[in-house]
């Protein structure tokens, strides 16, 4: 039977608990948000002992289901002040699930200045004082933990940014190649830092594995599901070939590629940083064009990017990072962007928040537009070292905007707005405004329907249908985020009728239950409302479901579009 592992960092004790009946049907985001809502006082300081950091694998994680190895991390966010769930690949989710750990809850905070590591295994968690690895970057931590505990050890770690409790700090997860995937958004690395935990090791030895109630039924459904993933042109061909970065040229053509801190919708240097160019560069330098962030991913949108000499620079090199450091900062040097991506992984800082932040920093005059060398210097010499300037930068886009008196600060609920201009792709603007997570494209990815013709088509430049589109996608995403599935299963799920029923059949076969499509939709609705309720109690109300004013007053070229939703129109979102 699955268990809850609970760690108290105040009195340095650990417990193994039965799973309460109310949590039994939950996993991933549904479970982390339920636990945070039940146990964290909404008004607490996110970096205080009252906050809790919760990790939960999804409902299907640890099974042979394709693409089901994502781990959810949840807490009150020090960046947004609201609830946060951020999910990532890597090896940890499957290891935790196979150990029978439904959730790992970390609460309290040490009373002294000592730092610790947690060792998770089949018999529970031990808390060990940690001295040696403090101050190190994430790559060095992973190497050292492997040397100490063995190559197969799973690792969750924070870099200097998390230790310094910067609000853009992330939590890194070791991937199958001992590189890094990240619980990127919302400053969860700072929460882990506030608990004075440098890393969590996971020992899979003796793991009982995941028991499937109806193996025959599961096998059948898993086959249908995998076929749908491979048959759909986006998940079967587009993503593995070009990664997510194929979007640079598409958004540029559509006039929705935010450029120069969201002042224009197209970037002159787009081709140099595009997915097409990246694909050819990777192939020419002997990198890997496709790569999975966890075992069992059959889409493989990730890649391994090498330098001119064929040496590893980075992997998991995403469109949002390349857009942010590229178009938004007017940098057209893909090698420098790759170097920065690697540095951000090592420092342990969210690559989206930091990219948006650099756009604001350039506007503030901290560095010049397009100055990639100075950007690299700021990462290594200021942020990684925690200088006063580094801490301002490490606080994200909102922090730099406030400190330097910039008014064009693209954030919602203090979280940086990613890679799609909400004026020219209006559906995603509704998602940014209303998401319980702050500006987050993944929480209701309307780009699929606004731009990519997946799941139908809703004109990105008109207001019609956007609220409904975003609502339906946010509900579905909240449910999918609870299964441990990578969000890219949404592409086939939107177009191929067998895909979603197969996903539900797998859940039913795993647990011996009989969920219907409506149950899954209701789960999504329930999660969103629960998260919103937490946010409201934390002081984030509908006045925070708004985009910054400049989107209303500054038309963006080439379509000269403005953000023209009324407050009442936005608030319609919650009418379900």
């Amino acid at each position: 039977m699955d268990k809850i592992f609970r760690v108290n960092m105040t009195d340095l004790t650990t417990k193994i608990e039965e799973v309460p009946a109310a949590w039994a049907g939950l996993g991933g985001r549904g479970l982390t948000s339920t636990i945070v809502a039940a146990e964290v006082p909404p008004t607490c300081h996110a970096l205080s002992a009252d906050n809790k950091l919760v990790f939960a694998p999804g409902l299907l994680t640890g099974t042979p289901a394709a693409n089901s190895g994502r781990l959810s991390a949840g807490a009150k966010s020090p960046l947004t002040g609201g609830i946060k769930e951020s999910n990532a690949g890597g090896t940890a989710a499957q290891m935790l699930a196979k150990l029978g750990i439904k959730a790992l809850i970390i609460e309290g905070a040490p009373k002294t200045g000592a730092w610790y590591n947690l060792a998770v295994g089949v018999n529970g968690v031990t808390i060990n004082e940690e001295k040696e690895l403090l101050g190190l970057g994430n790559f060095a931590v992973i190497d050292a933990v492997e040397a100490r505990l063995g190559k197969k050890t799973g690792v969750l770690t924070i870099g200097p940014a998390g230790e310094l409790k910067m609000t853009a700090a992330n939590i890194s997860v070791k991937d199958p190649d001992s590189k890094i995937r990240s619980h990127g958004r919302g400053g969860l690395g700072a929460v882990m830092g506030s608990k004075q935990i440098k890393f969590i090791s996971i020992d899979g030895e003796g793991a009982p594995g995941v028991k499937i109630a109806d193996p025959e039924k599961f096998k059948g459904a898993a086959k249908v599901f995998a076929k749908a993933l491979l048959d759909h042109p986006v998940s079967g061909e587009g993503l593995p070939t070009y990664g997510t970065n194929v979007l640079v040229n598409i958004l540029n053509e559509a006039g929705g590629l935010p450029t120069k801190n969201f002042t224009v919708g197209q970037f002159e240097g787009h081709d140099k940083i595009s997915g097409e160019t990246m694909h050819d560069t990777i192939a020419a330098r002997g990198g890997k064009v496709k790569h999975g962030c966890h075992a069992g991913c059959i889409i493989q949108c990730s890649q391994v990017y090498n330098d001119k000499d064929g040496k590893y620079v980075t992997s998991g090199f995403e469109y949002e990072t390349i857009w942010g450091l590229g178009a938004d900062c007017c940098i057209d040097n893909l090698d420098d962007i790759a170097r920065a991506d690697n540095l951000m992984d090592d420092i342990g800082i969210d690559s989206i928040e930091t990219a948006v932040m650099f756009g604001v920093a350039m506007e503030a005059g901290i560095l010049n537009w397009g100055d990639s060398k100075e950007m690299l210097r700021l990462l290594t010499e200021e942020i990684a070292k925690g200088t006063a300037l580094g801490r301002v930068l490490g606080g994200g886009a909102g922090s730099v905007g406030r400190t330097y008196g910039v008014t064009r600060v693209p954030v919602v609920k203090n979280q940086g707005i990613p890679a799609y201009d909400p004026r020219s792709v209006k559906g995603i603007g509704i998602t940014y405004a209303t998401s319980t997570m702050g500006a987050d494209h993944t929480s209701g990815y309307t780009i699929a329907t606004n731009i990519l013709n997946v799941g139908g088509y809703v004109d990105p430049l008109k207001k019609d249908g956007q609220v409904e589109l975003s609502r339906n996608l946010q509900i579905a995403t909240a449910a999918v985020d609870s299964t441990g599935m990578c969000i890219f299963v949404a592409f086939p799920a939107l177009d191929i009728p067998e895909c979603l029923p197969a996903l539900i059949d797998m859940i039913n076969a795993r647990f011996g239950i009989a969920l219907t499509g409506d149950d899954v939709t209701n789960l999504g609705k329930h999660i969103l409302k629960l998260e919103r309720d937490f946010n409201q109690k934390a002081g984030l109300t509908s006045v925070h479901d708004r985009l910054p004013d400049f989107f209303k007053t500054e038309p963006v070229a080439p379509h000269n579009a403005v953000w023209d939703f009324t407050d009442a129109e936005i608030d319609e979102f919650w009418n379900f």
């Binding site: 061909e237 587009g238 070939t241 997510t244 053509e253 997915g275 469109y319 969000i487 890219f488």
Partner: protein, 74 residues
């Protein structure tokens, strides 16, 4: 009439990134697609001057036509 034709992703293989094309008045997007040796099914996104177009959209002098296979990400 003259249009600018841009190709993306796999459509570039063995073809080009960008080219000026001389077309007869009233040519539809479909004819351009077929002329490239592509099939209608292969087309994911048609963009005409930065807005979504259709296979039967009529082209006009000075248009920019961009063709993408079905790709995506995020």
């Amino acid at each position: 009439m003259k249009i600018t034709l841009k190709l993306f992703a796999t459509f570039r293989n063995g073809r080009f990134k960008i080219a000026e094309q001389e077309l007869a008045e009233g040519t539809e997007v479909r004819q351009v697609v077929l002329g490239l040796g592509l099939t209608e099914e292969e087309i994911g996104i048609v963009m005409l001057n930065g807005r979504h177009g259709e296979l039967d959209s009529k082209l006009a002098n000075g248009d920019t036509l961009s063709l993408f296979p079905l790709v995506g990400g995020g």
